[in-house]
Amino acid sequence: MPPMSKEDDRARDEFTGEAEELLDTLSRDLVELESQGRKVRPEVINKIFREVHSLKGLAGMLGFGEISELSHSLEDMLDRLRMGKIEITKDLIDLLYDAVDSLNRLVIGINDPTMGGLVDITGLTRRIHQLTTSQPRRAHEDPFAELTLDEQTKKSLTEYEEHRLLENVKGRKHILAVEVRFDFSDFDEKLRALTATLGEAGEVISTLPAIDSSGGAGIAFRLLYGSTLQEDAVAALVPEGQVVSLRKAKSPASGAREVIAVEVPEEDLSLRSISQTVRVDISKLDHVMNIVGELIIEKTQLDSLTRSLHQGEALQQARLTAHELTKIARNFDRKLNELQKSVIETRMVPVGQIYSKLSRTVRKVARELNKEIELVLRGEDTELDKVMVEELTDPLMHIIRNALDHGIESAEERARKGKNPIGKVTLNAYQQGNSVVLDVTDDGRGIDPELVRKSAVKRNLIAQHDPFDQQRAYEMLFTPGFSTAAAVSEISGRGVGLDVVKKNLQDLKGSIDILSVPGEGATFRIMLPITLAIIQALIVRAAGEQFAIPLTSVEESLRIYSRDIRTVERREVFTLRDFTLPLLRLADAFHLDGHRDETPDSKWFVVVTRSGEKVAGILVDELVRQQEVVIKSIGERLKTIPGIAGATEVGEGEIVLVIDVGTLIDQFGGKAREARAAVLA
C-alpha cells in the first residue's frame, strides 16, 4: 500500500491523472491493434509497449505495487511481441484488453478502494507468463551481414531498432540511408512530416542526428529506412536529401535485381505462415453490399412503422412500444453504419494504384511529342472505390494526354515566353468531404476563350455572334466533335473527345470542371463520390411524386413564395442573396402532370444543388426527410432520360427516382458560381 502523507496525496493525484491518461491512449491503441491484427504497423505495438513501460515506471516510483507488478509482466510480454518473439493472436489481444481493464480498475481503486479489490492480479500475471513463455526464443541473427552500415549508426540502434532492421532485411525490403538537413528552427516539424511520408511506404527504423557539416546553423539527420520503394523512388520523395542503398551488392556477375524480384513472394510465404491480406472477388463484396442495402430498406420500414405508432391515437402501451422501437431502430442504425463503413473500406483502394500506369504513359507520350515533361504525382494514398479507380484510368489518361499535347508548349515556345523549358504536369488527389477530387494541372498555354470561340464557329457549333464567355468556352470543350488543335495529332486522337471523358465521369456520378488562366496553364478538376453504393439523400415531393436528391449535391434548401420567382430571358430565376439562381421544375424536366394552381402566395421549397462549379435551384413542393438510400440501376428505357441516376426503395415498397444532379443541370441549365480560380496561383 502506498504511504499516505500530505505530500503523497499530491503525488497520488498526479499519478492517477497521468495513469488514467496513459490507459486511455492505451485502450485506443489496442483497438487499432485488434482491428489490424497482424497487419498492424510495428510502431503501434511499440507505442503500446512504451505506454505500458511508462505506466510501470510511474507506478514503481510511487509505490503502487500491484499496478507496477501487473504492468511489469505486461511490459515483458509486449517487449517480446515487438521483438517478434511472440505472435499476435486472439488470446493475446483478449489478454491485453483484460489487463488494461484491470489496470483501469486498480487506478480507480486508488481513490475508491471498492474497485481495486475486484482485480485478480495473480490470475492475470499467470496468463501473461504462460503466453510470454509459450513460444521459443529465436536464435540471434545478424541484421548487418548484408548491409554496409556505418559504425556510428550501428552503435546507436537500440535492441528494438536492431530487431526492426532485421525484420526489414528478412522481408526483402530495400534498406536505405536517407540523409537530410534542416534549419534548426523547425527541424522537428520537417522531420516529423518526412517520417510520416516515408512511413507510408515503409518503416523509419532509426533517426540519427548529426552536426550540420555544411557549416550552417542547421542540423542533419541520417534515417535508416526499410521500404518497398527503390532508392530512386525514395530520392524522389525526399528531393532535399540524399538517399543511399545500404544493401551490399550481390556477386558482381549476377543480374541481382531481377532475381530478387522473382524471389520475393516465396520469401514472404516462408516468413509468414498466415497471409496478411485476402483477395476478394469484387462481386462477392457487391453481394455483401446488397445485403447491407436490403438491411437499410428493412430499417426504413422499421422507422416508418415507429413513426405511425408515435402518431397514432394509441394507448399508453403503444407509446411505450413506439419508444422501445425507436431505441431498437437507433441501435440497428449504429450497427448498420458500422457494417456499411467496414464494407466500404474493404472496397477502397488508393488511387496511387494507377499512378505508375500514368507515369509510364506520360514518359511515352512526352517522348513521342518530343517534349520534356516533369510529372508530379500527389495524394497517392487518397482512397476511392476499387471499381471507380479502374473506371477512372481512361478519363485521367485522356486529360493528361491532352495537357501534354495541347497544354504544354514546345520547349522553344516555352523558352520564348520565359517559362521553364521543361513542362510540368501535376496530378493531385485529395478527399473533400464525401468526394474525392483529382486535379490535373499543367503549366502550359491555358485555355484562351477567343480561340475556342473561333474554333466553335468554324465547326458550326455556335453562330458568329452568339454570346460567349470563359464558362461557355469551357463547356464547348466538352461538346462532341470539338477540337482546337490545329492539326489533330496522334496523341490526343480524333475519335474520342473530352465529351466522352465527361460522360464517363458522369456515369460515375462525378463531374469535371476547368480552371484556367490563359498563358499560365489549366487545371481539369474531377470530383467523384467516394463510393456509389449507398448515399445520403434528401427525399422531396414534386408534382405529386417523390424524388431522392443525393445530399452531396445539395448546398442548402430554403422556402420561397411564387411571387419571389422572376423570369429573366425566359428562364425562371430567384435572387439568392446577391446571386441570380436559375430554377428548374422537376415537372418540366420529366414531363410530369400535376401542375398545381399557383398564386403569388404559393409556397415552394428551393433545393440549391451543385454539380462541379455550377448551381441551380430545384423547385419542390415538400421536403420529406433525409435518409440513406441504396441506388439500384433502372431499366434501359429510363437510363436514357437525363437527370435520373437510378431508383431506390424508401420503405414500404415505395419506389422513388434518384436525381442525377450533374446531367439535370447540364440539360436544363445551371450557372457557375464562385469559380475557384486560385488554383493556378
Partner: protein, 114 residues
C-alpha cells in the same frame, strides 16, 4: 516520470544550485541544447522521435556539447543497450527501477561535486 525525476533531483541537490530543464522527447532535447550551458544530461533510452543512444551519439560527436557528461537511464533487461551507451561515450548508466539516493550519487559524480 520526468516530474518524478525532477522532484528527486531537486530534493537531493538542495546544497548546490541546480537549474533543471526538462525535455519531453528527443527532438525537444535537441531544441533546448543551444539555449543552455548544461553541466550534465540525463536521458532515457526509449523515447519518442529519437532514442537516447542517438542523442548520446549526437552529443558526443558535437564540437561544443561533447564535453557534457551524460547519464543514461534505462531498464535492467537491456544489457545490450547499456553496452552501446558506454561505447558511444555515456559516462554513467542507471538501471530502472532505482533508489533516489543512487540517482543523486551518480549525478554528483557526473557533476564532480562532493
Amino acid at each position: 516520470m520526468r516530474a518524478y525525476l525532477t522532484t528527486i533531483i531537486e530534493g537531493g541537490t538542495e546544497s548546490f544550485d541546480l537549474e533543471i530543464v526538462e525535455a519531453a522527447s528527443g527532438f525537444e532535447a535537441l531544441k533546448t541544447l543551444p539555449h543552455h550551458k548544461f553541466d550534465a544530461i540525463l536521458t532515457d533510452i526509449n523515447m519518442p522521435d529519437i532514442n537516447g543512444l542517438e542523442l548520446v551519439s549526437f552529443l558526443k560527436n558535437h564540437p561544443v556539447h561533447r564535453s557534457i557528461p551524460i547519464m543514461v537511464i534505462s531498464t535492467e533487461s537491456r544489457e545490450e543497450d547499456r553496452k552501446r551507451a558506454a561505447a558511444l561515450g555515456a559516462e554513467e548508466y542507471l538501471v530502472k527501477p532505482f533508489q533516489a539516493k543512487d540517482l543523486i550519487e551518480k549525478l554528483r559524480r557526473l557533476l564532480k561535486v562532493a
